[in-house]
């Protein structure tokens, strides 16, 4: 009895281990999708939040048009969605037919699990050009495959408290550059005592947004570390200046930003288009007090937008019914009417550019005093600069956030803080620091 037991354990382990050695790598590169295959059967889709609501709603339309199909939409919650999906990718099983992945998470997945996603190019062909280019680029692999389809955009603009600006005698439409905004901020502070911007410095997202506005990311196209570039220093110095002049209100997390906005802590909010949902939902009392203008540029005439957020839909190669999945994804996203409907019902701003022509985007919005805010976002979306993501973005992100805090709150010199961050990332990832001209 005991002897048997003593032998069994290691043998069992060995047997299972050999299974483990081959686990984690998909054996096939995925089914080749065809854009008009006959579909049947059922699929499961994972999503969260309003995205899940949109999927559930439109899946009913889809099944009406395609009898004999069933679409199961599961809300897996956003908070730990990536842990769930990462485990499924790593184990090469456990994932459904369609998953929702945010645009900025896609590059890491593509790099780490290059064979885990089905190429969507055959599905939409030339239609690919109709999507927001910055999103297509983030969803594409190095060998030209489209591994997820862009869904909604996180086009950024500046939300301005008109009442504060009025009190300070500043016209929100005259903010051509960030310097103009800082000057305005000082006037607002003098007149109303309020700060200029509320942001969560510890996430580093403001810095990365400013960097993207200048067309750059943490890494260069050939994978070197870009933090010592002039643009990066400029972005960080800008935030530091704001803080030094008492114009920055540092808050914590989502709840921090919402509370700060609700309590009118600051005069402007550089936020994405989906912020509108939060404003109308949580802060109805601020109606008619907010206007939307493009981001100030770094130099007059420069880019006035950036990106923050936005999701995509991907089909893992482990999907059991990839053809139906492909057909459904195409129905949801490469479809003008459906994209418009999602804007209307769920506030998801399309990255499918033809949808932006719809009358909805040219209608006055009561919350903003009749302004046609969606027109502004529609005009800016195609101008979002594409940037490079690498598999080390997540690793670098924490270091970048620390540099932001060090420079802004702890008074370190921005160039020095960024150089130190670049060096840390170089050590941790083995990449080179890009030589700056």
């Amino acid at each position: 009895m005991p002897k048997a037991m003593k032998l069994a354990a290691p043998l069992l382990a060995l047997a299972l281990l050999s299974g483990c050695a081959t686990g984690g790598v998909p054996s096939a590169a995925g089914t080749k999708l065809s854009s008009d295959a006959a579909v049947s059967g059922q699929i499961t889709v994972w999503s969260w939040d309003v995205a899940a609501t949109a999927l559930k709603r439109l899946s009913k339309e889809y099944t009406k048009e395609h009898p004999g199909t069933t679409i199961n939409v599961v809300d897996i919650g956003y908070d730990n969605a990536y842990d769930k999906m990462s485990v499924g990718l790593q184990a090469n099983s456990g994932l459904p037919d369609v998953i929702t992945v945010e645009t900025d998470h896609m590059p890491a997945y593509i790099h780490q699990f290059p064979k885990a996603f089905t190429d969507l190019k055959p599905l939409i062909g030339a239609d690919e050009a109709q999507f927001d280019p910055s999103k297509i680029s983030a969803s594409s692999s190095a060998d030209g495959k489209l591994l997820s389809m862009p869904w909604d955009s996180g086009t950024v603009a500046l939300y301005v408290r008109t009442d504060y600006f009025k009190a300070a005698g500043v016209d929100p439409n005259k903010l051509a550059t960030w310097d103009d905004l800082i000057t305005a901020g000082e006037k607002v502070k003098a007149a109303t005592g309020h700060a200029l911007i509320s942001t969560d410095l510890s996430t580093g997202s403001l810095f990365q947004m400013l960097l993207q506005q200048q067309g750059q990311g943490i890494f260069t196209p050939d994978g070197a570390i870009n933090l010592t570039s002039a643009a990066a220093v400029k972005a960080l110095a800008l935030i530091k200046t704001m803080n030094d002049k008492g114009l920055l209100d540092n808050v914590k997390g989502w709840d921090g930003r919402v509370t700060a906005t609700k309590n009118g802590k600051s005069a402007v909010m550089p936020e994405a288009v989906w912020w509108i949902g939060t404003l109308t939902g949580e802060m109805p009392e601020l109606a008619n007090k907010i206007t939307v203008v493009p981001l100030p540029a770094f130099t007059a005439g420069g880019t006035q937008t950036s990106n923050d957020g936005g999701s995509t839909l991907a089909i893992p190669t482990q999907a059991k019914n990839p053809q139906l999945a492909g057909s459904f994804v195409k129905f949801m996203l490469a479809n003008k009417d459906n994209q418009v409907s999602m804007m209307k019902d769920e506030g998801l701003f399309p990255s499918y550019l033809p949808a932006l022509d719809a009358p909805l985007f040219h209608a006055p919005q009561a919350y903003f005093g009749g302004e046609k805010v969606y027109e502004l976002f529609a005009a800016q979306t195609p101008k979002i600069p594409s940037i490079i993501y690498t598999s080390d973005n997540a690793k670098a992100g924490d270091t970048v956030s620390s540099a932001v805090v060090a420079a802004v709150l702890n008074h370190q010199d921005p160039a020095a803080a960024l150089k130190s961050a670049a060096e840390q990332i170089a050590t941790a990832t083995g990449r080179k620091i890009a030589q700056q001209p």
């Binding site: 009895m1 354990a9 299972l16 290059p114 410095l201 510890s202 914590k252 620390s402 060090a406």
Partner: protein, 309 residues
């Protein structure tokens, strides 16, 4: 929260040699196997494989979906990684500050609750135990809201007594304080209930004898109560120590390891390495380093316990 009862009592069975004879010893041996079989079988099937798998993976490095054999490189990397050092420093800090703080508080509260004349004992006990049964999601959200720099309840309270607000979750030093406070809040009542039970197990005669000898309250406390409570206090300390070294839940949800890794712990770090950077080999190496440290600390605590006996 893992816990362990580290009293490997080697007390022999009351009548070990009593009935004598090889037969009865064999008799006593075989059923033992049957009793432990379910647990051992379950461990072997569901624990051994993942354990060995993680050990195996620690010899690989994964980038771009490809795993390559690197021998002991991931272990060597541990010694050059400033974040490993920082996370160990952080748990060390928590171990040295939070565990004694919590055990002493629990002891004090239990002692007060043990007063024979006390009313509402059940109510007090239940209220103090409440934090230990809360769902993590809820309590962390509540704490985040309460510790918010602007308008958070804690800062509002400080303002009421004339103190300036504290940037709880954004400053390195204060975030550590906030973390220690939240762990203490969560587990003090739990330990208090355990120690209280120990207190109630102290025979009344001991108190009587001490009083007859003219001992004062403090003397009774230090010479009777503490010695009698030693096993319980040790249980509490050891549980809390292992919990501190393996800290993950509280800082994962409250601070995410920040700001600037001030509240990063080894388990949180290995979780990030595994699930955000997908380097499961390195995550495994970190885990095994932690196991080694916990094993050493446990052995030390064993030794201290044996000596005092």
């Amino acid at each position: 929260m893992t816990s362990t009862l580290l009293r490997p009592s080697r007390r022999p069975s009351a009548n070990a040699g009593g009935r004598a004879g090889a037969r009865s010893t064999a008799r006593r041996r075989r059923p033992g196997y049957w009793f432990v079989l379910p647990a051992v079988g379950l461990f072997a099937i569901f624990f051994l494989y993942p354990l060995l798998s993680s050990l195996w993976q620690s010899f690989f490095s994964t980038t771009g979906g490809e795993s390559t054999w690197v021998g002991g490189a991931q272990y060597l990397r541990l010694f050059h990684d400033p974040l490993v050092a920082k996370s160990l420093f952080n748990v060390g800090l928590i171990l040295v500050i939070q565990v004694p703080l919590m055990v002493c508080t629990a002891l004090g509260l239990a002692y007060l609750l043990n007063q024979s004349w006390l009313r509402f004992r059940t109510g007090f006990r239940a209220m103090h135990f409440l934090p230990a049964v809360t769902t993590l999601v809820a309590y962390s959200l509540v704490f985040r809201v309460m510790l918010a720099t602007d308008g958070g309840a804690v800062n509002q309270l400080l303002a009421m007594v004339g103190m300036s607000p504290v940037d709880w979750l954004n400053s390195e030093a204060w975030s550590r304080v906030a973390l220690i406070a939240s762990i203490t809040w969560r587990w003090t009542g739990y330990n208090m209930v355990i120690i209280l039970a120990g207190l109630q197990g102290i025979p009344a005669e001991l108190y009587e004898a001490a009083r007859i000898d003219g001992a004062g309250r403090w003397a009774i406390f230090t010479k009777i109560v503490i010695p009698q409570l030693r096993p319980v206090i040790l249980f509490s300390s050891i549980t809390s120590t292992i919990g501190a070294l393996q800290l993950f839940d509280e800082n994962f949800i409250l601070t995410g390891g920040g700001p600037n890794n001030a509240t990063l712990t080894p388990v949180l770090y290995l979780y990030k390495v595994g699930f955000q950077q997908f380097d499961f080999g390195y995550a495994s190496a970190i885990a095994w380093l932690l196991v080694a440290i916990i094993a050493v600390v446990s052995v030390v605590q064993f030794a201290i316990m044996k000596e005092k006996k």
